[in-house]
Symmetry: C2
Subunit: 238 residues, 2 copies
């Protein structure tokens, strides 16, 4: 059975301000929940149509119609978990770090978190204007990777000013990444979907790079930020 | 003014069977329409709230509320274009070709078309079960690249059987792509989001490749098909 206050809370934390107020976020679907149960992220309450048979006081078995009431999905997948937003760890300023300058699309952020996990990037730095990583659409797109990458929201120019490493940024007129020797330590900055890297941040970029275009003259203007991140991270790691 | 038959047609061609019947598809938004107007794809009718001032008999100026009636978007962007589906050109079996084995997500197909355009891939081969490239969500995600890549829907095993080039496919246990010499001619096969490359197609793969994972043991299971395509195409072209 679902109480009114439970329904209200779950509805509220689909919004960023309530997620921050309560320190909670939602994960939908058995696969994503199981991934997080095995991680360092703590569960608050699990709402499910079938028991997970885990030793949890905070499992609530509900009907399919109750699940539909609290789910944001058209076809809710058996369970909805409420988890506690982890306290960000201190940022380790070493190795390869990815920084996002106002990435707004939840799918793009989710894909980039998954890429960081794949390529062993431990620190993901986001400007305050970047979409919240506990937004349900981001969480959905990360496929559990959100538990394995330390994500911090910071004043990005201030952060970049304080790092003692090369700062890479992708620009149309940057140096061909395929011809460049890249170091093991550094920050890779990816910009906003429409406007790229902001001028405040551009001033702090020490190495402008680009992915060369092989198509004909009238080719696509730019790559999507998540696909560009995939190609650049692959170049740094190969 | 919009006639009932115009509204009906636009609504119908959001479905694949009617697109095939009438040979027409929809592009929403000024940017996408302008890209296609400058391409080899022929316009059928342009519905717009402000005239484009192009010498076109088939421009219909409509009200914002009429645009809302025919648009699939919450916030329609000033214009909706109906274009003619181009006849597929003959497939040139040379250079680097990308083949998709049942890619189902419109966003993924759109991103892959854009990547093909960026990396100068002229031929994109899709299995019959791959999502239709004239699906509105695919068109939206291609950002005009759809006019610059020749997209053909074929019996994929039959096509691969008939090509006289190496056929590459991404598998978890394939050879590390970073250590492999790749030829200029070849087919790169990308599989379905959930199931990867089907067994029928796997039999025709001559070179199994993989993108190594750099994360810790319990890392993400796989990369999204569009990000994997980005990394592999970059490796073939670099």
């Amino acid at each position: 059975m679902l109480s009114k206050s439970q329904i209200k809370l779950i509805t509220q934390i689909k919004q960023k301000k309530y997620r921050q107020q309560y320190g909670l976020f939602v994960v939908e679907g058995v696969k994503g929940i199981v991934e997080l149960l095995g991680s360092s992220i703590e569960m608050d309450t699990l709402y499910t149509v079938e028991s997970f048979n885990i030793d949890a006081k905070n499992e609530v078995v509900i009907s399919q119609s109750d699940l539909k009431r609290i789910s944001a999905l058209k076809n809710p997948n058996k369970a909805l978990g409420v988890f506690k937003i982890p306290k960000p760890r201190e940022i380790k300023k070493e190795g390869l770090i990815v920084a996002l300058d106002d990435v707004r699309d939840p799918g793009n952020l989710g894909t980039i978190i998954r890429l960081c996990d794949w390529f062993g990037i431990e620190e993901l730095i986001c400007s305050h204007e970047t979409v919240d990583c506990y937004n349900p659409k981001v969480v959905q797109a990360t496929m559990g990777s959100i538990a394995r990458v330390n994500i911090s929201y910071v004043d990005l120019p201030k952060f970049l000013y304080g790092v003692d490493m090369p700062v890479f940024g992708a620009f149309m007129d940057g140096e061909n990444i395929y011809n460049k020797m890249v170091p093991k330590n550094g920050v890779l900055v990816m910009g906003n979907e429409a406007n790229g890297i902001s001028s405040d941040v551009e001033e702090l970029i020490t190495e402008k790079i680009s992915i060369p275009r092989f198509g004909k003259l009238k080719a696509t203007e730019s790559l999507n930020v998540a696909t560009a991140a995939a190609i650049l991270l692959s170049e740094f790691r190969r």
